[in-house]
Amino acid sequence: MLVLQAIIDGILVGGFYALMAGGLTLVFGVMEIVNFAQGIMVVLGAYLSYALFTHLSIDPFLSLVITMPGMFLIGIAVYWSMIRPIKQDRVIMSLLVMFAVGTIAEGILDLVFTSNLVQISTPYVNNSFTVGSLIFPDIYVYAFLMSVVLLAGVYYLLYRTRFGRSLRASMQNPTAARLVGINTDWVSAYTLGIGVAMAAAGGMVFGLTNSFDAASSYDLISRLLAIVIFGGFGSLSGALIASVLMLVIQDVVAVVWSPTWGQTTFYVILILILLVRPQGLLGRKAVRAQ
């Protein structure tokens, strides 16, 4: 029963990790950019929702209407000012640039919000309902549903719209996409915007379920990267499956053995799987390093 409960917890929490990791994997898939600042973007999203909630009493879920477009614009701005000027060695250079962006953002957040831990505490965070003897905390269920809706939205955007077509074209062959008249710069900018907006939504849930400060971003980013690699770079469904798997593995190990071994187990499984499938669970076959 405990194990079953742990599995359910893992799936529910995995849902909103998928949201944060989805933004990362999308950005990588389109632009080969490792958004190392995704962790701090999540924290920024959490702070924005926190500020709107404490100062204007706007419900965190509702606050997304403001924070997501805001963060979308931030993403676009970061693309034009930081990523576009990179001329060569994009993968590594973008990683370094985004690392620097993250550092600056951390410094600013520290200044604005100080380094005291905060948490968004709405009255309903403590509510839960039961099915049989299984417990479903409301907040995780809401968050999970929201994540599924948002991920489905992004999925729709990718596979059912004109923008999605250009985006996928840029993903598969940027040169060819440029030749058929797709403005890959704008596609990339929008993508980073979407990725960062997803971080805003994930951050809101993170802020509801954890106390956080700017330094929380470090633990987040290492996890998100692991999820993205595990699921396969560029694969949304891979990110979802990998997040859920990661959380389920950790939670089950924590229950049946010890929390300290939860992460070890996950990393060992990660290594084993990557040795068999270097492209990750659902990733496209890795481009041969040439």
């Binding site: 106390s211 700017a214 992460q263």
Partner: protein, 395 residues
């Protein structure tokens, strides 16, 4: 590198070995990184102390001037910082940084330059195992932090099941292990014992294991974030233990209330060395000055503030007694078995630097305030709620 060297040398103030000018006191504080939250409170505590003391004539008739450097929670930086404070800034005294992790390397540095390190927030056992004679911890050390609670439990309850969980931390884990050893020796069964790493963000599985054990007593070695999260998870799991004590979290005043909800706080205990309403030495003055300087309310004040403040208090009393700024005289005097007073209560040092006079208190949330409940007979404790009210049953 040259620029730095020049700057480092240039920035040395008028080498204040003389008895004129202010007494300078150097501290490295963690304003960023893992300890940034507590680091800021620590800094405020030291600032409050300096302001208070300066309003009361300073030390030896000289003004106190604090010299803070930031260490980003990194031992590498803390080592550089204390060397700079001592050898470039030529501070008269140093006080301790935040956390056991950083106190250890810093006390080695202080020792190397013949400085005494009075500290308040580095009570992990490993600090005292280094064989240093210059470290003095004014707070209760880790393994004794929960002892008042454990003694009360043994005295008032039949042996029962106890669930333990702690972050793997050089301060928290020894604290939990100390309580567990004492309780197990007195017939209490340890039904859950889980350790989790610092970077854990999802505590639900640990909470559900504890909930499933239905243990009536829960002892948690937490920092504030996991301290909040466990309570939230317990409420969601509809599991309300009779006795719940957390190492840290409930002591965070309004931040705690905000995080778990006002009507869920009732009965939750926290060991502490200080509380806002304490009647110990200079406490009310400290509280009002802190509020004047940094705003907020008394309940908002972190224990880190009081801990830092007490380190300053002990320094004041010792230096006023030896009437010199000599660190060796200070070390000698602190080892003499003299008794000092602080906002956390009396202080008397063992040879290894632990405070033998420290009586860790137990505080309990009752009707929306954090009350001093244990030990009975010291100060004016409020009667303890032996059984925690159910969740949502008000404060």
């Amino acid at each position: 590198m040259l620029a730095l060297a020049a700057a480092a040398c240039g920035s040395s103030p008028s080498s204040s070995g003389t008895s004129h000018g202010p007494i300078t006191i150097g501290v490295s504080v963690s304003l960023s990184g893992d300890f940034s939250g507590d680091g800021l409170a620590t800094k405020q505590g030291y600032e409050t102390w300096a302001a208070f003391q300066n309003a009361h004539g300073g030390i030896l008739g000289r003004k106190i001037q604090m010299d803070f450097l930031s260490d980003g929670s990194s031992p590498t930086q803390v080592v550089t910082n204390y060397q700079k404070l001592i050898t470039v800034n030529h501070v008269n005294f140093v006080l301790g940084p935040y956390s056991t992790l950083l106190t250890k390397p810093s006390s080695v540095i202080a020792n190397r330059y013949g400085y005494v390190m009075i500290e308040a927030i580095g009570g992990g056992p490993s600090v005292f195992q280094q064989g240093l004679h210059n470290v003095f911890d004014v707070s209760a050390s880790a393994k004794y932090q929960l002892i008042t609670f454990a003694k009360w439990l043994v005295a008032t309850h039949k042996p029962e099941d106890v669930a333990y969980a702690s972050m793997t931390d050089p301060f928290l884990q020894p604290m939990l292990d100390g309580a567990r050893a004492y309780l197990s020796a007195h017939g209490f069964t340890s039904v859950v014992y889980k350790l989790y790493p610092l970077e854990t963000t999802d505590y639900t599985p640990i909470a559900s294991v504890i909930a499933a054990s239905k243990a009536p007593v829960v002892v948690l070695g937490t920092m504030p974030p996991d301290g909040y999260a466990f309570i939230q998870d317990f409420i969601q799991d509809r599991y309300s233990p009779k006795v719940l004590i957390e190492a840290s979290g409930p002591d965070q005043g309004t931040a705690f209330v905000k995080a778990v909800g006002a009507n869920n706080t009732g009965g939750i205990m926290v060991p502490n060395t200080w509380f806002p309403g304490s009647t110990y030495y200079q406490n009310s003055a400290m509280v009002s000055l802190y509020i004047k300087m940094f705003g907020g309310t008394a309940n908002n004040i972190s224990a880190d503030v009081a801990e830092a403040f007490s380190a300053g208090q002990v320094l004041t009393q010792a230096v006023d007694h030896i009437k010199s700024t000599s660190n060796s005289a200070l070390e000698h005097y602190l080892h003499s078995g003299a008794m000092f007073q602080s906002v956390q209560g009396p202080v008397k040092f063992l040879p290894d630097g632990e405070n033998s006079a420290a009586t860790p208190f137990v505080f309990q949330w009752q009707h929306g305030t954090l009350e001093d409940v244990l030990p009975a007979g010291v100060g004016h404790p409020v009667p303890i709620l032996a059984v925690k009210p159910a969740w949502g049953a008000g404060g």
